[in-house]
């Protein structure tokens, strides 16, 4: 019966937005969204949201416990373009299938995902853009 069909929910139906990689980057912002660096800083700093500081250190002094697995994120905006940063967050395993860094905007190939997280990428498109915007501001002093 048509009347009882559930309403489509746009956000939930498209948890992962399509993107096109060019070279080692993703030039266009996901879903054309604009990132906000202040929100991005909070995402990167939060162990439960970005989870980035589990593995990385970065210029976020109020977070005392930082990781040593990945490179220091200080100066990453000088080393990499926004497009390169975007691909490294969205799906770093395209560049290095062996890397420990998970694909933050992908649900492909996951197994035994806990019920609370099923079918959801770690970061949604807006959160990715916010994180990209923040990391792009991390420039080497010179």
């Amino acid at each position: 019966m048509l009347l009882s069909a559930p309403m489509p929910r746009a956000a939930a139906a498209e948890p992962v937005v399509p993107f096109r990689a060019a070279g080692d980057g993703i030039p266009a912002p996901l879903a054309g969204l604009a990132g906000d660096p202040a929100r991005g800083r909070r995402i990167v700093a939060d162990r439960q949201v970005g989870t980035c500081l589990l593995c990385h250190s970065g210029p976020i002094p109020e977070e005392r416990f930082q990781g040593t697995i990945g490179p220091d994120l200080a100066g990453v905006g000088s080393r990499l373009t926004a497009a390169q940063i975007r691909l490294r967050i969205v799906d770093p395993r395209r560049l290095n299938p062996e890397t420990i860094m998970p694909a933050y905007h992908s649900i492909a190939g996951r197994s035994r995902v806990g019920a609370a997280w099923q079918g959801r990428p770690i970061l949604d498109a807006q959160q990715v853009e916010d994180a990209v915007a923040f990391l792009a501001t991390l420039r080497d002093p010179s």
């Binding site: 589990l54 416990f65 420990i100 197994s111 035994r112 995902v113 806990g114 997280w117």
Partner: protein, 255 residues
């Protein structure tokens, strides 16, 4: 921990086939000095509250005329249970499956004492496991990974190397390849099961290996293996095999 034990926290082992010398390192060495000091001194180690309770339970007769205590059948635990925990989990021919120490104690309680099942992570189950485990303290981990255990061991290795959860990480990603690095504030240990059940400061209590593995699985946002399931036992067996040669530290203290 005495000097000999402290040395045994490092075991030099020749990796078969490669000939390389890999250093196995107990999580004891990655814990802070205060945590190690608690483990070194039985009077400061909170886990000994559970050990004492386990010792009492060892001698308790269940109600009923023919009720027999663990002691009645096994005798002195220091002799009867010496080395038992160092060999777990092991293949059980009667039921044709892998069984860990807690399951063996369960079986004795239920089938030989007619007692109700002690729930997982209950104080009594942890107490008996800690008391029995203590009788192997200082002995090398020496689980059998061949014969009927070989298939489970191979499956456990496969599970250890498979990425799970929303964070899409394997046990090996952290415990083989990043051991010694810091995950946020915590040093990643090699992930050895030689101290279980443990007193964990973060829990402010005692917990089994199964509880520790549940923490690692939920940390990567994965569905934990059901305690006592064939998957869980295979993983426990692989971990025990990986730790062969390390001294049993039960009951250990961990951050």
């Amino acid at each position: 921990m005495n000097r000999a034990l402290a040395l045994a926290a490092l075991a030099l082992t020749v990796v078969a086939g490669v000939g390389a010398v890999a250093e196995k390192r107990s999580g004891y060495l990655d814990a802070g000095p205060q945590t190690r000091a608690m483990q070194d001194d039985d009077t400061a180690n909170p886990a000994f509250l559970w050990v004492q309770r386990g010792e009492t339970m060892w001698g308790e007769r269940p109600a009923g005329a023919d009720g027999r205590s663990c002691q009645d059948c096994h005798g002195d635990a220091a002799q009867a249970m010496r080395g038992v925990a160092a060999r777990q989990p092991a293949w059980d021919a009667a039921t044709a499956r892998l069984m860990n120490l807690e399951q063996r104690i369960d079986r004795c309680r239920e089938e030989r004492q007619g007692q109700p099942r002690l729930p997982p992570e209950s104080e009594g189950r942890l107490a008996l496991a800690a008391f029995v485990g203590l009788q192997s303290r200082g002995l090398p981990m020496s689980v059998a990974v061949d014969g009927p255990a070989a298939a489970g061991h191979a499956w456990g290795k496969a599970l250890f190397e498979t990425r799970f959860g929303q964070l899409d990480l394997s046990c090996a990603d952290c415990h083989d390849r990043q051991a010694g690095q810091r995950l946020a504030g915590n040093v990643i240990p090699q992930g050895h099961p030689n101290g279980y059940p443990i007193y964990r400061l973060e829990w402010q209590g005692m917990g089994s290996l199964s509880r520790r593995l549940r923490n690692c699985m939920t940390g990567i946002r994965a569905e934990p293996f059901a305690p006592g399931s064939p998957d869980a036992l295979a993983l426990e067996l692989y971990l025990a095999g990986r730790a062969r040669g390390l001294a049993v530290e039960t009951p250990a203290v961990r951050p």
